[in-house]
């Protein structure tokens, strides 16, 4: 990842040994971590999703921004060091370039996801099922303000 804001290099370093869990799936939001060196594996329900070794890779941001439990486990596959923000919201508020950096990371991820699905739809354009709707649905999802609709508990079935 390019253009890592200087403020990140000012954060304290934390070292994890091989096999250590950096973030635990289902755990509460808390720290924001930026990979400094080494490599980690991201997994969900025991299934390996990704290997990450790019300096500046950010972890815990979804959980911090949406105030929800961590959606995946991050574990060190070699000794790994991180820059750690213990109070992510304060850190982002006082360092807007960091907030910008994270926003850019998320926008890039969204863009990649969008292109992936548009391509799936194109490659399966002869399918008459939901796959044929993917780009339409995606176009709507990508271009609107997300509403947070409460999930009302239902008394009956």
């Amino acid at each position: 990842m390019s253009n890592i804001p200087d403020a990140i290099a000012q954060l304290p370093l934390k070292t994890f040994e091989e096999g250590d869990h950096v973030i635990e799936e289902g755990g509460p939001p808390g720290q924001l971590l930026f990979l400094e060196s080494g490599a980690v594996e991201v997994s969900k329900a025991g299934l390996r999703l990704a290997k990450v070794r790019e300096k500046g890779a950010v972890f815990g941001e979804m959980s911090v921004l949406l105030n929800m439990p961590h959606t995946a486990t991050v574990s060190a596959v070699s000794a790994a060091t991180f820059r750690v923000a213990e109070n992510p919201e304060d850190f982002m508020a006082s360092n807007p370039e960091v907030a910008m950096y994270i926003a850019r990371t998320l926008a890039g991820r969204l863009d990649g996801l969008n292109k992936y699905l548009v391509d799936v739809k194109a490659q399966f354009s002869d399918f008459d099922d939901h796959v044929s709707m993917v780009d339409g649905v995606l176009g709507s999802l990508m271009n609107r303000q997300r509403r947070d609709i409460e999930r009302r508990p239902q008394p009956g079935p």
Binding site: A50, D111, G112, L113, K115, Y116, V120, Q123
Partner: protein, 249 residues
């Protein structure tokens, strides 16, 4: 031992789906490069995620050998040459990639990287010299570009294969080379999906859109190979003396 050879899948999801479906019917699946599509809609980063997961599935079904092609580089080495670093990451039991030499039945298979410049090319030469071994088994190379001057590198107008590979092949005399890269060689007059250089068999299944991909089924015990594509099916008797030619079935 039944071998399935494909090449130039270029991120065709339907072709990967087809491979997942048929892989259990084969003892060995060889993907001879260009798994990704640099001109594709999805980011290369995304394509790598998807293809890595396909490879993971495929190795659960059969033994897989996959080499890089010119579309597969995701990083540059110190000399500024593109290499498929991501393939190194998916190496696992039952899944061999660039740089590996493995014994499979009575075959010794060497998986060659795409060479983007002199450093990777010299590494490849050194790697093949080292992999040569005792030479009791039949030696198979997986190398994306086909050897130059052979019908499996014919574009319809010229030979567009790899002259360096041709040198290596003449010096080290492998039993066969599995390639791809020149998408239409098998479909042109003067081109072919199979040929022979001295005693080395060379194959290039070609590339077509949609599933199933053009593919070759090779059985070295029965010494026969069958090519299937939208053009139908052709067979060759690899034990036939002299200048064997494929015939429609």
């Amino acid at each position: 031992m039944k071998i399935l050879l494909v090449s130039d899948i270029h991120y065709s999801l339907k072709q990967f789906d087809w491979l997942v479906q048929v892989a259990p019917n084969f003892d060995l699946l060889v993907i001879a490069g260009d798994l990704l599509d640099v001109a594709g809609h999805a980011d290369l980063d995304t394509q790598i995620v998807v293809v890595s997961q396909y490879l993971e599935r495929l190795r659960g079904a059969t033994r897989v050998l996959a080499c890089s092609g010119n579309h597969d580089g995701d990083m540059k080495n110190d000399a500024g040459e593109y290499v498929a670093d991501w393939l190194q990451d998916v190496r696992e039991e039952n899944l061999s990639v660039d740089g590996d030499t493995v014994d499979v039945g009575n075959l010794r298979a060497t998986v060659c990287p795409w060479w983007d410049g002199p450093v990777t090319r010299e590494n490849l030469s050194a790697m093949l010299d080292e992999a040569r071994g005792e030479g009791s088994g039949r030696w198979l190379w997986i190398h994306h570009a086909p050897p130059d001057g052979s019908p499996v590198s014919w574009t319809g107008k010229q030979f567009a294969g790899d002259a360096h590979l041709l040198e290596l092949l003449e010096r080290l005399k492998p039993f066969c080379v599995f390639s791809g890269h020149i998408h239409h060689s098998p479909f042109h007059d003067g081109g072919s999906w199979v040929s022979r250089i001295d005693d080395t068999w060379t194959f290039n299944p070609g590339c077509e859109m949609g599933a199933p991909p053009a593919h070759i089924v090779i059985d070295f015990d029965a010494m026969e190979a069958t090519w299937r594509s939208s053009m139908g099916e052709e067979k060759i008797d690899l034990a036939a003396p002299g200048d064997a030619t494929p015939r429609p079935t």
